[in-house]
Structures are given as C-alpha cells and as structure tokens.
C-alpha cells in the first residue's frame, strides 16, 4: 500500500494584519500527511485550524515557511497553477456547504468535472456514482433549497469526491448538522477513505468527528500542542 507523503508543512507561520499590528494565526508549524490518512486538526476557535487548511488547500499563502503539496512548493506556485492543482487533486467540504444555489444536485456535483473538460458520458457516470456513495441518487434533480442540511452536506461530499481527488479538506463539516446526520456523513467519508485511499484532513472541534479520526493534531494558539495516532 502506498503511504507516501503527499503534504508537508515546514516552519509554517501565518500572520494577518489587524489595524496597525498583526495577528499571528500559525507559529512555526511542522507537519506531514501521508496518502490515505484520515486525520483532523482540532482545537478551540481561533487556534488556526482553518488557516492551516486554507494554506494546505492553496487558497492562502504562508507568511513564512512552506507547504509542499503533492510535490509543489506553495512558495513557487502561481495563482493559476494553484487553481489547476485544486481543480485536479483536491476536494473541499465547507461548514456551510457552499452549494451553488441555482444548480440542481446533479449539476452541483458535476461542476468540478466540467472544469476538467470530461465528456458528457464520463461526467454522468461519475456524478451518478458519487451520488450513490452518499445515498442521494433520488435527489439529483432537486435544488439545494429543497434539501435538508444533512442532504446538502452529502451533496458537498459527493462534489468533493466526484473527481476522486487525492486530498479532501473538510472545514467543520458537521457544525450545522444534528448527531444522526453527522454520523451518517462521517461514515460515508470513512468508507470513501478506505475504498479510494483519499487523504481526508478535517478542521474541527466536534467530538463526533474526532471519534472517527485516526490521527488527531491539536492546535493551540497557532502551535501544534499534540500530534497523536488514535487508530492504527
């Protein structure tokens, strides 16, 4: 089984301007993630979880240090190359689902494949399979407004997984869901992780999510305070 390192974070520091001073969100983080990990960055609000995920997702740049994603140093990446890396190799799941409201479930899930210029037939096959993974085959024609919160998040998972990315970054994916829906979604992601060997990295402080993690990285005030393997 290929357990090669696909993400490496070295001496990562991120500072945000706050008026005349600066706020330091991350302070010299060193981490690495291997293919197929099901890990989470946990910690209280403001500890830097989302900032770390954004840098790994190439949506933000570090102030100091480097993040090497799939062999690409964030220091050397242009905005366009970063977009292409996200397009091909990454899936995102957000706390507020971020579904496109005017599109149907099918179209939302299809969207990343449109960017990859796949043929109609290939797209249809991939979307239907992805919807089957999350148990929403009967909702393909619904609009996000017609779905429950849990269903919306399952659509977001299907959208993140449809192109079978190497990395899925999930920022507080269960924050807006009840316990049943949370467990359902986490089981779905756990299953996809084991079936497709996709690396999942969560940012969360939800105990339900933490109970599914195999690796837990605790951030406090922008520093890694603990990095523990929960399940082998």
């Amino acid at each position: 089984m290929d357990n090669s390192e696909i993400i490496s974070v070295q001496n990562l520091t991120k500072r945000f301007p706050m008026g005349l001073s600066e706020f330091t969100a991350l302070r010299g983080i060193n981490l690495s993630f291997s293919r197929g990990e099901f890990s989470g960055v946990v910690g209280p609000s403001g500890s830097g979880k989302t900032t770390l995920l954004n840098i790994i997702g190439l949506l933000d740049n570090p102030t100091e240090g480097d993040a090497v994603i799939l062999g690409n140093s964030s220091k050397k990446l242009s905005v366009k190359t970063a977009a292409l890396l996200r397009r091909k190799h990454m899936g995102f799941i957000f706390q507020t689902y971020n579904l496109l409201p005017v599109y149907t479930v099918f179209e939302n899930v299809e969207f990343p494949l449109l960017l990859l210029s796949m043929t109609t037939g290939e797209r249809k096959k991939a979307v239907l399979q992805s919807l089957e993974w999350v148990g929403l085959s009967d909702k393909e024609k619904s609009k996000p407004a017609q779905l429950s919160g849990g269903e919306c998040q399952r659509v977001a998972i299907a959208r993140a997984m449809v192109k079978r990315p190497e990395i899925v970054l999930a920022d507080e994916p269960t924050a807006n869901l009840d316990a049943d829906n949370s467990h359902h979604i986490l089981k779905t992601m756990e299953k996809l992780n084991s079936e497709l060997r996709t690396t999942f990295i969560f940012a969360t402080h939800d105990e339900k999510v933490i109970s599914y993690l195999r690796r837990k990285i605790t951030l406090v005030d922008g520093k890694v305070s603990r990095d523990e393997v929960l399940k082998p």
Binding site: N54, A83, K88, N98, P101, V102, E107, L114
Partner: protein, 389 residues
C-alpha cells in the same frame, strides 16, 4: 463554452432581476430599430414622392435662379435653350417659370408664387391636365395646403396681381380648376400653378423659364451655358438634413434608453459580486482561476444582451411587422411642417441597422459587465469563502 453554459444557468436562475434588465435592453433595441425604420421609410417614401412630384430626374436651374431668394426670380429666368427645347418636344423635360404675385382670397392679401408649367406634361405627377379646357378663363391648380391656407375650393375664382417684365402691375381673375393632394410641401405652400404659356404671356416673357424638370431616368445631363444642372444631391439636401437631424434625435433617445439599461446591468453586476462572494470563493476553491471567474461574471452580464435580442425578437418582431404592414400614421397637421411627409409612413428595417445596434448593445453590455467583475481578480479566496470581502 463552459462560461456561457454556467452564465446562462446563473442568469436564468436569478429570475426577475434578469428579466427586468433584459426587458429594458430589448426595449431600447426594438425602439431604435423602430425609430430608424420609420426614418428610413420616411426617407425613401419622401424621396420617391419628391422625384414623382417635383424633381423628376433632376433639374436645370437658370444660373441666377435661387428658390430661396425671391429677389432672384426676375433675373433668374431665361430663354429655354435649344438643347432643352429638343428634350421638351420629346417629352423628356418640362420648363417651369416662377414669378412673384399676390392673391386676394376673400379680399385678403397673400404673397404667393405663380408657377407656369405645360398642362400636357407627364413628367411630374401634378394634375396639370386640369388646367386645359376653357380658355376664356385662366385655369389654375393648387395644393391642399394652399387651399387650406386661402380657403379656396375647386371652381372658386380669385384675383391675382403680378408685375410683368416691364415692372407694370397687372391683375386678373383665375379659376381653381383642381386641388391636388401631394406629400411634397414645396410644390404646394403659397403656390399657384398656371399654364406656362399663359404665365409667359402675363409676364411678357415669351419662351422663358426659371428651371427645367427632367424626366426620371434621363442619365445624361449635358452642360448648357447659363443653366446649372441640379442632381438629387442638391435637390434633396434640405430633406436629407431634416432626416439626419431626426436620426440624431432618435439616437439620443436610444442612448438614453441604452444608458438606463446598462446602468441596470452594471448595478446588477456590482450587487451580484457583493451578494455572491461565497459563490465566487467556491468557484475558486473548486479550481477555477480568478480570471475564469471574472470571465464568467462578464459573460453573465453580457448575456443580458443576448437574452435581450431573443426577447426583442419575440415581442418586437410582430410589433415591427405590423407597423411595416399597416404604417405609422403621422399626426394631423404635419402637412403644414413644410417638408415632404406622407400621411402614413411605412417603416423599412435594414439588416445593417439591426446588426449595428446589436453589436453596440453587446459591446456596451460586455464593457459594463467587465468593469465591476475585475474586482473578483483582486479578491482573496479565503475571505470570499466567508463572504467577508
């Protein structure tokens, strides 16, 4: 292609906001096509009327004749040259003599022009044959505008007074043998048409004319000493100026409407970018480049124009067709405006006009869509995702 597909979905998904913008844009398109169609129809009809009623195939003016200068009328006449006499005999030209006079309808005095023309002519449409017949009286014809202004009717008799070539005043009574209806005001207002030979006799200038009307289709216009050939470019110059002014006025209305529509599109784009920050962040997170998102929003704005063409075609085509079929009735009183205008104008729509307008609207809409969309390129995706731009 992807941008067009996505933009279409986003636009249609936006509902009423989109359709309001589309309607205003289509309104400006249809109105300008209609306005310019009416002006073009008027232009073509009027020129045809002017050819048929007044200008024929062009004119020769005596070198001193200036229709806008009444003081030129005495000197602005001369013997009909032999070249023209020949054409006159063969029915290819007809001379007209112009002189100032006064008419006294119901005892009132009115300055007019007396114009002499051969009653047998067939070069212009005026019913000059009505002037034939009873030679014991001078038979004259007038236009409907003159009839209204002087309250003269058919068979009325009225006194006219003029000066002959020696400067002697003379007066006589004429009979209104006919009243003609023509869209061409310049052969009607303040004019009485008499048989040429009678007017030549009255003014003691036998064989003279002020100008010559050529038959339509006469291609050659030889140089004749003392006479100047006037083609359509000169004869229609005043009318062309009126049409040009109307075109400008129509374009101003179009620009105002288009500006309103563009303002609405611009406003929609600005609001969209603020309202859809999260969506923009999502596009970027899913792998679109910032410029792809800028292009998507630009296409979305520009697509208002495409939808406006479709909407304009749906509601505008029947309207424009009916207008072209049944004509646009001019308000009463326009006959007194002094320029050639039919009671009903049948618009003529040129494909060129429609294409030019479509290109202008498309280009303008694209520009006003692009300007606010550029802001997206400067957005931080992390902040856009949180809706905090």
């Amino acid at each position: 292609m992807l941008a067009f597909k996505l933009a279409y979905k986003n636009l249609v998904g936006a509902g009423l906001r989109t359709w309001l913008n589309v309607f205003v844009l289509s309104l400006s398109l249809v109105l300008i096509v209609m306005t310019w169609g009416i002006l073009d129809g008027w232009n073509i009809q009027a020129k045809q009327d002017m050819k048929e009623w007044e200008a024929g195939g062009g004119e020769y003016w005596h070198e001193l004749y200036d229709p806008l200068d009444p003081l030129s009328y005495n000197d602005g006449q001369g013997l009909i040259p032999p070249e023209i006499e020949k054409m006159y005999s063969s029915g290819e030209a007809v001379p007209v003599l112009v002189t100032q006079a006064t008419v006294y309808p119901e005892g009132r005095m009115r300055n007019i022009l007396l114009k002499g023309i051969d009653p047998s002519q067939e070069i212009v449409k005026m019913p000059t044959s009505l002037m034939k017949g009873d030679t014991s009286v001078i038979n004259a014809i007038i236009g409907i505008r003159m009839a209204k202004a002087t309250k003269l009717s058919e068979n009325d008799r009225v006194t006219i007074r003029w000066r002959d070539a020696n400067g002697t005043f003379d007066a006589t009574e004429i009979r209104i043998a006919g009243i003609f209806h023509s869209n061409v005001a310049t052969i009607d207002n303040n004019q009485i048409w008499l048989p040429l030979d009678r007017l030549q006799k009255m003014t003691s200038i036998q064989g003279h004319a002020s100008y010559i009307i050529l038959k339509q289709g006469i291609l050659s216009a030889p140089t004749i000493p003392g006479w100047i050939h006037k083609g359509y470019d000169v004869l229609f110059a005043d009318f062309e100026a009126v049409i040009k002014t109307k075109h400008i006025a129509g374009s101003i209305v179009f620009l105002i409407l288009l500006s309103l529509a563009l303002l609405a599109v611009f406003d929609t784009q600005v609001l969209s970018i603020f309202r859809r920050e999260k969506e923009i962040g999502t596009y970027i997170a899913l792998g679109m480049t910032r410029w792809q998102v800028v292009w998507l929003f630009t296409v979305e704005g520009a697509m208002h124009a495409i939808l406006a063409f479709i909407a304009g075609a749906i509601w505008g085509t029947p309207l424009l067709y009916l207008l072209a079929k049944y004509g646009y009735s001019m308000p009463k009183g326009t006959e007194g405006y002094g320029f050639t205008m039919a009671e009903k104008i049948y618009p003529i729509y040129g494909a060129g006009t429609i294409i030019i307008m479509a290109v202008i609207i498309m280009a303008a809409t694209t520009v006003v869509s692009y300007i606010p969309s550029r802001k997206i390129a400067k957005m931080k995706p992390t902040e856009a995702l949180r809706g905090k731009v």
